[in-house]
Symmetry: C2
């Protein structure tokens, strides 16, 4: 946890005690997240777009339509900033002021580039699928050459990144511990309900175990 | 759903059929979200920060330390772009290409300003608390004058905003409906586990109903 920040802009400014810069911590958060938010500029003005992603090694990969302005910004090698935020709980303190949230987040600054090689694109799309729904890829039709051409895949190196983590109970002002309010943590997590079959599903096809027993990204 | 977009930059460019611009739809999504991601620029380069928020009427409110660079950007009236994303499910198609996600998101462009009046700040902080944990505010110590001075509150008008929504089953290529893969939707939602008492909680204080029976932001 004592690794130094990789750059000034990737240095956590607020509550630096919550910061971590080691890759193991950063990777673990990225691997558990479902959606990232990609910040970029259009004519100098801020934009932000949610999208799914996958980490492979020391790169983050995004994909989508070649018409996506966000992906075009990455393709052109312009600056982006990407956040992944996992909410772990609400922290209920005895004072309104000390209410907080337990969370794990990563913020990554960098520039990316397009992945052009079709075999590599397939590998990345498979990894993305396996990250989101482990076990799914082998059950479905793989992308055709045409579908692959319609899919822009970009890579962003995880070099200027920071993690920020809060865990544990509330921290109240010492006199407030005498107050009669309940205090503690309300844990939150992403949960799955039972799968809903496509109305056009053919009779006799049962939902797979990875859907019935879904535990989130891996 | 047929209301026109309020500006060019707030016009959904990708998959415009999923877009909505009416305030009722936008407000409903904002009221159900927990965290927003605020995109802004520092020396022209993109940044993004997750934070909690509340909508009151036609404004979105953020709060935090006066040392927050993100809040300072809003305080100075510089452009921001704010996204709220609610993931409703994973859409499992018969082809890898047509996998998708059911979601409701809002993207808001605008400039904000500081809320200075202490009574108004208290009202906003109470609304924020009630949005996140309905019922909590009355149980806790309200902010002191000093705590209020340490809290920067900013307001951003919800004028240039769009919603984007995907619902329903997968849409496969017609020949793929013959494949033997299971297809459908895996519903996802934010769930709460049982509250965990602060180790310093005094004996005999039971967790409140709003924590035991938490159903997410309201």
């Amino acid at each position: 946890m004592n690794q130094p920040p990789p750059s000034d802009r990737a240095t956590v400014k607020r509550l630096p005690k919550r910061a971590a810069y080691d890759l193991a911590t950063i990777h673990a958060i990225l691997d558990e997240g479902l959606v990232c938010h990609v910040s970029f500029t259009i004519e100098g003005r801020p934009n932000v777009v949610p999208t799914i992603y996958v980490r492979i090694g020391e790169n983050l990969y995004l994909h989508g339509s070649p018409a996506s302005r966000m992906l075009q910004v990455v393709q052109r090698g312009e600056d982006v900033c990407i956040a992944v935020t996992i909410v772990d709980g609400l922290v209920l303190a005895r004072s309104a002021f000390h209410h907080s949230m337990n969370y794990r987040s990563v913020v990554l600054f960098g520039t990316g580039s397009e992945v052009r090689e079709p075999e590599r694109k397939i590998e990345i799309l498979r990894a993305l699928s396996e990250h989101l729904i482990p076990g799914r890829w082998q059950d479905v039709r793989a992308p055709s050459a045409g579908e692959l051409r319609q899919t822009l895949v970009v890579s962003i190196p995880i070099q200027e990144a920071s993690a920020k983590i809060r865990t544990g109970p509330p921290l109240d002002e010492e006199p407030d511990y005498e107050l009669p309010a309940w205090a503690g943590v309300l844990p939150l997590h992403l949960a799955a309900a039972m799968p809903i079959a496509d109305p056009r599903l053919k009779p006799g096809i049962e939902p797979p175990v990875y859907a019935i027993d879904y535990r989130g990204p891996k």
